[in-house]
């Protein structure tokens, strides 16, 4: 059984910080279906529409009936660990640096046999659950987990390489004053973070509830404004090399459609915070975090962007804001590609309307800040990359995947 994780000791500054390496990331195009599902925390294998055969590894035709109608479908994760082994040698640097490493052969109840990473708590020749998770290269791999949860199973050293569990990690929340920011800090502390650096813009403006956040022993409040490069440099200089997870909660939303304004001032402010703010953060904190992708037990591991489901399709009631979120979304994909080299996951969160003052006139259901914070923590613990929290986001993403044009028209009517 996995022993509980202990708080890591202070870093010894003398040895060279290990350079990050990642597992082999090359995949054929058809294999990326596994990654696409795992990025959202789903376990999907190819299933033939014609004969029902489930197959793995992925290929472009059904192995049984040769049909081309093979689709990624959610299938049973149950299986039997037929055999397992522990590597004491690898030709790949990532694994060499982490040996010994356990692998196994699992026969899934749905048919195929898969090679999988094997959690320490799995017993040989017994029932297991197989899941697909993104590894540090950003590609999906199979992992065999014990049939039932075991105490402290998420503390296992190798398992922590696949997820971004905030336990004993240090986090920067770029805006801790908003309702969402405050909820995030409370949730992070509850999840076992050892330190939360909480950014506060315009500290002279007091925010309701913030005092209870600032009073938490794990919290260090820091003046931080994503529109002010100097403030970011100051924070980076002071605590940049201690940030394992960065959550960009800074947001500027002044509900308006394009034609409601006679100037671009509002749009400019939204772009300043929501898009350029992200770029400034990325350029200042990104390289520091990339250098710490393999920095001992608590290396830098994740960058979280709070976007919006309307980053995918514009909602005219929030027209100009949605445009800034779309810009941020696009930039986040670039950042994701750049951070992946160091094994750092960029997590994008796409909520629907949030229960706060800027969504006052929107009809329910709305996502509470606490529910949004829980979704962020859940994403980090599960190691997923794209999150659509709440009923509205789930509904919209499903419709958008079916037909983006339909969603564009429907959102225009909701205005």
């Amino acid at each position: 059984m996995t022993p509980p994780l202990t708080r890591p000791p202070k870093k010894n500054p003398v040895p060279r910080t290990r350079r990050p390496t990642v597992p082999p990331s090359t995949r054929s195009r058809v294999a990326l279906g596994l990654t696409a599902a795992a990025a959202e925390g789903r376990f999907a294998l190819q299933k033939c529409d014609r004969c029902g055969n489930v197959q793995y590894p992925a290929q472009e035709m059904c192995r049984a009936c040769l049909s081309e109608q093979v689709r990624w479908a959610t299938v049973s994760q149950r299986g039997h660990l037929l055999s397992d082994t522990t590597l004491h040698h690898s030709n790949e640097l990532f694994f060499r640096e982490r040996l010994p490493w356990r692998l196994g052969l699992v026969q899934l109840d749905c048919g195929p046999t898969v090679i999988a990473h094997v959690h320490d708590d799995c017993r040989s020749n017994s029932a297991v659950r197989v899941t697909a998770k993104l590894d540090r290269s950003g590609q999906a791999v199979m992992i065999a987990l014990p049939e039932h949860d075991t105490p402290h199973m998420s503390d296992e050293k190798r398992y922590r390489e696949f997820v971004c569990d905030p336990k004993f990690r240090r986090v920067l929340v770029t805006d801790g004053k908003s309702a969402v920011g405050q909820a995030l800090v409370h949730a992070l502390v509850a999840a076992g973070t050892s330190m939360v650096f909480v950014g506060v813009a315009e500290p002279w403006k007091r925010a309701t509830g913030f005092q209870s956040v600032a009073a938490l022993p794990q919290v260090q409040v820091m003046p931080l404004d994503v529109t002010d490069t100097d403030s970011l440099l100051e924070v980076a200089g002071e605590v940049g090399s201690k940030i394992d997870i960065l959550i960009n909660s800074a947001d500027h939303n002044r509900t308006s459609a394009v034609l409601e304004k006679r100037d671009v001032n509002t749009a400019h402010d939204e772009i300043e915070v929501n898009y350029l703010g992200l770029l400034r953060l990325a350029q200042i904190f990104g390289p520091i975090m990339r250098g710490r992708g393999a920095d001992g037990q608590n290396s830098a591991c994740a960058w979280v962007n709070l976007l919006s489901i309307y980053a995918l399709t514009n909602f005219p009631a929030f027209g100009s804001w949605a445009a800034s979120k779309a810009a941020a979304y696009s930039a986040s994909q670039c950042l994701r590609a750049e951070m992946r080299e160091a094994g750092i996951r960029v997590v994008n969160v796409f909520p629907g309307p949030i229960e706060d003052e800027w969504h006052q006139l929107i009809l329910p259901p709305k996502l509470t800040p606490a529910a949004l914070a829980a979704a962020v923590i859940g994403a980090l613990k599960d190691g997923v990359e794209d999150v659509f929290p709440g009923a509205v986001a789930q509904d919209l993403i499903a419709r958008w995947r079916e037909c983006p044009k339909t969603v564009e028209r429907e959102l225009a009517l909701e205005r």
Binding site: P57, S83, D84, H88, H89
Partner: protein, 388 residues
Amino acid sequence: MRKPYHDVVAAVPVTIPYVRYSTRSAHWWIARALEALLQESGFSKDTIDGFCVSSFTLAPDTAVGLAQQLGVSPRWLDHIPMGGACGLVALRRAARAVQAGDADVVACIAGDTNHIDTFRLNLGSFSQFARDATYPYGAGGPNATFALLTSYYMREYGFSREDFGKLCLAFRENALKFSGALMTRPLTMDEYLGSRVICEPLGLYDCVMPCAGADAFLVLGRERAEDAGIPYARILGTIERTNAFPEDPIQARGGWARDCAELYAMSGLGPDDMDFVQLYDDYPVVVVQQLEDCGFCPKGECRDFVRQHTFEAGGSFPINTSGGQLSVGQAGAAGGYLGLVEAIRQLSGRPHGAAVDDAAAGFVSGFGMVSYDRGLCTSAAILASGSA
């Protein structure tokens, strides 16, 4: 009933001594092998009208580009990508070509180079499935696949590490008499058991050493060989199979289990008639599997078989008389030739190392291409001495 290989023979066994690392290309190794074939047969290049090649490191060339480099103009050409099964497949295809008159003298050659980084680079691009579903998991090639199979055998059939070690020690003993072997010191059971763990339960001496080298032989008409005064081995039967038993969740049996009855029927001989066997030995568990699936002992009883017999060239059941890949080295596709070439040596009366006395018939099998979770290609042949 399959047509027998009457009047077609295998001859001129050639092994170009292996080296751990080579600065040369696969082309160089294959050229050395062709030169040796010509020297030992006395044939000129023009006589070779059939040409068959196997190699993992020939890219971007194939047998076609190689023909230009070697200055040969074959009227029959083949390039067999079946790894450890390629030697026997080359033999049976070339034999049919000669029998049908499509070629008179076929040079069959397997050769590979091994630069410092060759093995690692080949692992990642071995197959689509390897790239997508095994290489990203960190195992150094087939080590993990056969570690999984070995631990399965230990659990299901009661094998101990010593049982596998006994095979490795015997092959090493044979290799000591074979000048081409990379391993030149005797191996003790203590050394075997105490060796560095590579991939549990496999230790260092359970895993082949990748190296550079080439092996080759000729396939030609019996009369042609006799006219030229070339000793030869006769071909009594052959089989090949790709992707046998895809429904098995773990590869607890290989394709031989499906085809061996046919091989013995075609040959008119049984397992007890073999004076030696040359089995594919990238890992000892694969040897065990061939002993079972090729009918030398019943499935599940190989542990006792291993405990009862001795496997040195002079032992009760000689296996891999030149040392096998575990002791000679695995020169890429040449690993699929090593046993066959040794069988031809023994049966044509010119053993290079340890000799099996009065060898009249021998069994050879091949196994190759771990594309995902198992080896896909199996092959086997029964050969007999020229004079029998």
